[in-house]
Symmetry: C2
Subunit: 242 residues, 2 copies
């Protein structure tokens, strides 16, 4: 039976990949790596190249726009990537691994790829191997705890809307926002108004050349699409919730 495995390779640092991810990619007949169109580097590829021989790598060009729903351009990219997977199976591969930054079940294009593959080949078994997400990496690099005790955490892409971000700041202890990109200045305004700017940290290109990890208060201007804003719970010195 043909297997398609979505493998999370973490945010960028080649060491932030699991032992299982390495084994699954090494055992796969073909490892497909998404290459992002535009100016983002192919992050997954840099990590995969550390562990997998080049002759088993294949590239699929993906588009990540600022996510206002399903555009024809995105669908075309999934279709092209799915066609690449099916070509690998037709060429004799039993197992195809699809490397994805972060975790394949957290805002990953793998979800759409798997759906597209299954539409034409319902017999393909789909599995995933979890990976470290950007919020976890930023938390470690910034020394800012994500959640402890009875704290609650809200995670969402800023493409879900600034209103929801403001509401989450009210209702949740820790709030993590992905994909700030061009919305970042407006987001920081909301944070400032809520009195939550001071402890917040910002990260981009984590584990990669040009890495940015800094207090959100020092951020100026828009950021890249793949950026992370971590607004921690208000805590006392002992580490408890206020």
């Amino acid at each position: 039976m043909n297997r398609l495995v979505g493998v999370g390779v973490g945010p960028g640092d080649p060491e932030l990949v699991t032992v299982k991810a390495v084994r699954v990619m090494r055992d796969a007949d073909v490892v497909l790596v998404p290459v992002l169109a535009g100016d983002e580097p192919g992050r997954a590829e840099a990590t995969v190249r550390v562990y997998v021989p080049a002759d088993r790598l294949r590239r699929a060009v993906f588009t990540m726009d600022e996510g206002r729903g399903t555009t024809p351009r995105r669908e075309a990219a999934w279709d092209a990537a799915a066609a690449e997977v099916l070509r690998a199976f037709d060429g004799g591969a039993t197992t195809v691994a699809f490397a994805t930054i972060g975790d394949p079940n957290v805002y990953s294009t793998f979800t759409y790829l798997a759906t597209t593959v299954r539409t034409s080949r319902p017999d393909v078994a789909v599995e995933t191997v979890p990976g470290i997400t950007a919020m976890q990496d930023l938390s470690a690099r910034a020394g800012t705890v994500l959640c402890e005790g009875t704290e609650t955490l809200a995670l969402f892409p800023l493409t879900a809307g600034l209103d929801r971000f403001g509401a989450a700041l009210q209702a949740f202890d820790t709030v993590v926002a992905y994909k700030g990109g061009r919305h970042l200045p407006a987001v920081l305004d909301v944070l400032r108004s809520a009195g939550r700017l001071d402890d917040a940290v910002y990260g981009a290109s984590l584990g990669l050349p040009g890495e940015q990890v800094l207090p959100a208060a020092q951020v100026t201007g828009p950021g890249p699409y793949l950026s992370t804003l971590l607004v921690p719970a208000r805590r006392d010195r002992r580490g408890g919730k206020l």
Copy 2:
């Protein structure tokens, strides 16, 4: 300078640890593993033993109660673990790694340990290495995507209260609840009333003997303290949000 590194070793499967975590633990002079009092097995230890020679392991007994705030019993456990860390430094260790299940920045006792160590030794440098969390492992094992597109995700311990769980079901797309334990039957009632029981999945002892991964609708009775309930966003067949 003395370093204390909180190392996430994932939810239980020894392969779900990062390459960096393995390196940091192997390079450390002492690796401290928490052993939970009561009937929970020492999960971190089982994973650590795969990678680190036994003569560099030391145990610290930790208590995890159902978390109604900071009890003297808990504080005593942190103090004992912190004393173990300081003993290692006094014995000549430069780097002490503290292995923790999941991620050291996500509901981990490492947070409290680090605070306690720093109180008596402000000169100790504290770092963390992220690890795979139970929600990510459950998502992969159950084949249930955590979040995609513009979906929002809420994460919290049920010790934060059933009211907040119900509110999160209204306001967020995907809701993940940890530490259901004895509250589980009441939680499932809330899920059923909200019409969200059908797609929800439940997991306990992930990657360990006695692993449970099943539809939440099939869960009967209370669960262990370390359990995970994943209520996915309502999605259409294409994988999009409804």
